[in-house]
């Protein structure tokens, strides 16, 4: 047992997002005492979420600015693409964006609550196409944990019987929300074109469970959710863990180093108290890193010792390597037949009720498509809360211009491609030898280059997006772009994973399949860094599921050792 501020604990967890939050829940439920260190400030969605606030109440009608990159009401605190005094750098030719939140709950407070699970092929990509590496896991092993995790998180959706969307167990999913008009029109287009379209799995409750209420069909999830309907760790696993009495959370604690003892085991960490700027060293029997893929890699690379001159648990040299994001590209169109359509409330669960999963596994296998990994299309449109950009629909002036805006409202439909990239040697992060942040901690330098795999995939997605828009009798309004122009920057989809990947071989991976580092047996990683590949399916539910699975095993080991 170590002690901090009068609190006795066994385990230190660095980070309070998906991985850290879930891990704290599992461990504390098992009676294990946990000290959680969060770099950002304390945050309570019950008190702080701007439910029902409208754009006209916010500065600049709530549009995005460099202070609030996703708009005024976005939940992200003290972060975004930039954090003042905490820069990151990029190598020549690299375009990379790194989203950071400095708040309890991390990025779970604002994520889209899209939670599709991986299928068997997603865990064995190398076996299917010879690219990248396989996971040291297969779907059968993870499947029951997906069920448990989805049940705990609260996921609405269905089992459509499509290979890309594996079934959840019976009784796991809550009812999904009914589609809206524009989604039903996309469905009609999909039927014409032979594409699947299914309910999006959402970490949004449609039935109340435990302390959390069902969604009341208003207020965007990106603001956070004061009633707990949209999953975030700050209204679920963290308060539950606190309720056990086994968790102490320390906020404003920016961890800068993991310490190694003479026996080669992790002995604790040092954090900077952001309020006093003092270094604080805490001991630990077990250290769990869940600071986000890149922040965890940074912390490990900065934790140098005689034994690990290149960073703790980095004998493989893989820490910071194999960085992956999802591919992203958007196409939007105008659908004249929807002009002036009958009004009704299209808020629903905010975000997608339906989406287009990946459909052409056959084409990948027989080579009729020229890329190896799939994507899905998220659908945008509808009668959203009016934004100032609506004004750009008009031409001229006067009553006629005013009427144009009314007519165009709700008549545009867009598709956002989210695809799998193939791991490549040009995408990684390392410590910049010349730059430190305001806490004196060396910062990350990112390197990024897409390969033809991603560019061909984006070209395919844009082509199908145009087909869909045309099939609805519409025309494309977004500018014609090459795949190189259309693909969003690395990091921009905020699905960074892979920097501390798991594997079967200590020479080519950082952790085993339990997230336990090969080199330091009491050092675990519970964030997206352990992903061996990055399927097109939004990563949060798999981070949560693996943290649940691996923390359950860790808990039983600790209990076993103690007894």
């Amino acid at each position: 047992m170590a002690t901090y501020d009068g609190f006795e604990y066994d385990v230190v967890i660095v980070g309070s997002g998906a991985g850290g939050g879930m891990s704290a829940h599992i461990l504390t439920e098992a009676g294990i005492r946990v000290l959680m260190l969060e770099a950002g400030r304390d945050y309570d969605p019950v008190e702080e979420t701007p439910m029902f606030n409208e754009n006209h109440e916010a500065p600049l009608r709530g549009v995005s600015t460099s202070d609030k990159d996703f708009g005024y009401y976005d939940a992200t605190v003290d972060g975004g693409w930039t954090v003042p005094g905490e820069p990151y750098t990029t190598g020549e030719g690299t375009e990379f964006l790194w989203w950071r939140a400095r708040m309890l709950g991390g990025r779970t407070n604002h994520f889209g609550r899209y939670v599709p699970r991986f299928n068997d092929r997603d865990f064995k990509p190398f076996s299917h196409d010879g690219l990248g590496v396989d996971w040291p896991l297969d779907y059968e092993e993870v499947q029951p944990w997906y069920d448990k995790c989805e049940k705990l998180v609260g996921v609405s959706g269905n089992n459509p019987g499509i290979y890309d969307v594996p079934d959840s167990g019976e009784g796991v999913l809550q009812p999904h929300a009914q589609p809206r008009v524009y989604e039903l029109l996309v469905e009609a287009a999909c039927q014409k074109l032979g594409l699947p379209i299914v309910p999006m799995r959402r970490a949004v409750l449609t039935r109340a469970i435990d302390t959390r209420e069902a969604c009341f069909n208003a207020t965007h999830c990106g603001r956070g959710c004061s009633i707990g309907a949209a999953f975030q760790t700050t209204t679920s696993v963290i308060p539950w863990a606190k309720d056990t009495g086994n968790l102490k959370v320390v906020t404003d604690a920016m961890v800068k180093e993991v310490h190694l003892d003479d026996n080669g085991r992790a002995s604790g960490v040092t954090f900077v108290n952001r309020k006093t700027r003092e270094d604080v060293r805490v001991d630990a029997g077990i250290v769990i890193l869940a600071a986000s893929a890149c922040e965890t890699a940074r912390l490990m690379l900065n934790s140098k010792s005689e034994r690990f001159p290149n960073g703790i648990a980095n004998s493989s040299g893989q820490v910071g390597r194999n960085l992956m994001d999802s591919t992203g590209a958007d196409i939007s169109g105008h659908i004249p037949a929807l002009r002036g359509r009958p009004r009704y409330n299209e808020d629903g669960l905010a975000g997608n009720h339906l989406y287009i999963p990946w459909w052409d596994y056959e084409g990948q296998d027989n080579g009729s498509v020229n890329f190896k990994r799939g994507y899905h299309l998220e659908i945008g449109g509808g009668f959203g809360e009016p934004e100032i950009g609506l004004g750009s629909y008009a031409d001229g002036y006067g009553v006629a211009a005013k009427q144009m805006v009314r007519d165009y409202y709700g008549s545009n439909i867009g598709f956002a491609l989210r695809g799998e990239m193939v791991v490549n040697d040009n995408c990684y992060c390392e410590i910049d030898p010349d730059v430190k942040d305001k806490w004196g901690i060396p910062v990350l330098k990112f390197h990024w280059k897409w390969s033809d795999e991603e560019l061909n995939q984006v070209a395919h997605g844009l082509e199908w997006g145009e087909k869909l828009i045309n099939a609805m009798g519409g025309y494309v309004t977004s500018p014609k772009r090459t795949p190189e122009e259309a693909i969003l920057a690395g990091g921009q989809i905020i699905h960074e994973v892979g920097t501390t990947r798991m594997g079967d071989d200590p020479a080519t991976s950082v952790t085993n399949k339990w997230g336990q580092t090969w080199d330091v047996d009491n050092l675990y990683i519970m964030d997206g860094g352990i992903f061996a590949s990055n399927p097109h399916k939004n990563c949060t539910i798999t981070i949560l599921t693996l943290a649940m699975k691996n923390s359950t095993r860790l808990a039983s080991q600790i209990k076993g050792e103690a007894s």
Binding site: P59, S64, T65, V181, R341, Y344, G384, L390, G473
Partner: protein
């Protein structure tokens, strides 16, 4: 965001795209329009005039990365002169007059929205400030050139002669009015956008959300379903 594809699209396309993006682009589940391509102003063509006034950048207070989301406040001072504000108000109601659907732009405070917008210390708004203040000056210059007085002091008929030369998309291709048409397009976006985001404008456009619905989301109304069935029946 990416400067490299700017040259491939014209300003009008990028504005249209930005307008539509605000309703369709979703990153991390959040609707964003953060990657508006920058569209530098074209050179002033021969036979055209443009004031090209430059301004000290606004460095006033920003709201920061952790503002009070429940009780928003705007920390920067407004900067339009009373004369400029009068002109903006006059133009706002030309662009967005009262009609059967709702009140005029000035009735819902749009000039204040524009004053707040162009006075903001953020890059996009600072660019808009240069465009709009130059555009307001251009109107006075053009009014003086054609009719020997400032815009507010010429007749309504004379005002509309000028407006009719710059108010349409197609006039961005006319060398003489290119810059003024770009200005008017931006002003129109802010005026109509400001109007339709006001409480009265939201009612006017028929936004029916942001109210709690206890129980399952009911989906489309019968009227909306019937309309959709017709749309689907008539698909190409």
């Amino acid at each position: 965001m990416s400067a490299k594809y700017v040259s491939k699209i014209n300003r009008r396309d990028s504005l249209k795209w930005l307008g539509s993006m605000t309703s369709v682009v979703v990153i991390g589940g959040v609707v964003v329009a953060c990657d508006a391509p920058e569209t530098p102003m074209p050179d002033v063509k021969e036979g055209s005039h443009w004031p090209d006034l430059t301004f000290e950048p606004i460095t006033g207070p920003k709201y920061g990365q952790d503002p009070d989301l429940l009780n928003p406040t705007t920390p920067w001072p407004k900067t339009l002169t009373q004369e400029q504000l009068n002109l903006v108000a006059h133009l706002s109601d030309i662009i967005c007059p009262e009609d059967e659907g709702g009140p005029s732009a000035t009735a819902v405070g749009v000039p204040d929205v524009i004053d707040e917008w162009i006075s903001a210390p953020y890059a996009d708004q600072q660019n808009d400030r240069v465009l709009i203040l130059n555009g307001l000056q251009w109107l006075d210059d053009e009014a003086s050139r054609r009719f020997g007085n400032t815009f507010m002091n010429i007749s309504e008929a004379e005002q509309f002669q000028i407006i009719d030369d710059i108010a349409y998309e197609a006039q961005m291709e006319v060398a003489e009015f290119e810059h003024a048409a770009i200005f008017f397009d931006k002003l129109r976006t802010l005026v109509l956008g400001g109007y339709f985001t006001s409480p009265q404008g939201m009612r006017d456009i028929g936004y029916m959300g942001n109210v709690p619905i206890i129980g399952d989301y009911p989906g489309p109304t019968d009227e909306a379903k019937t309309h959709l069935e017709q749309v689907i029946a008539n698909l190409p």
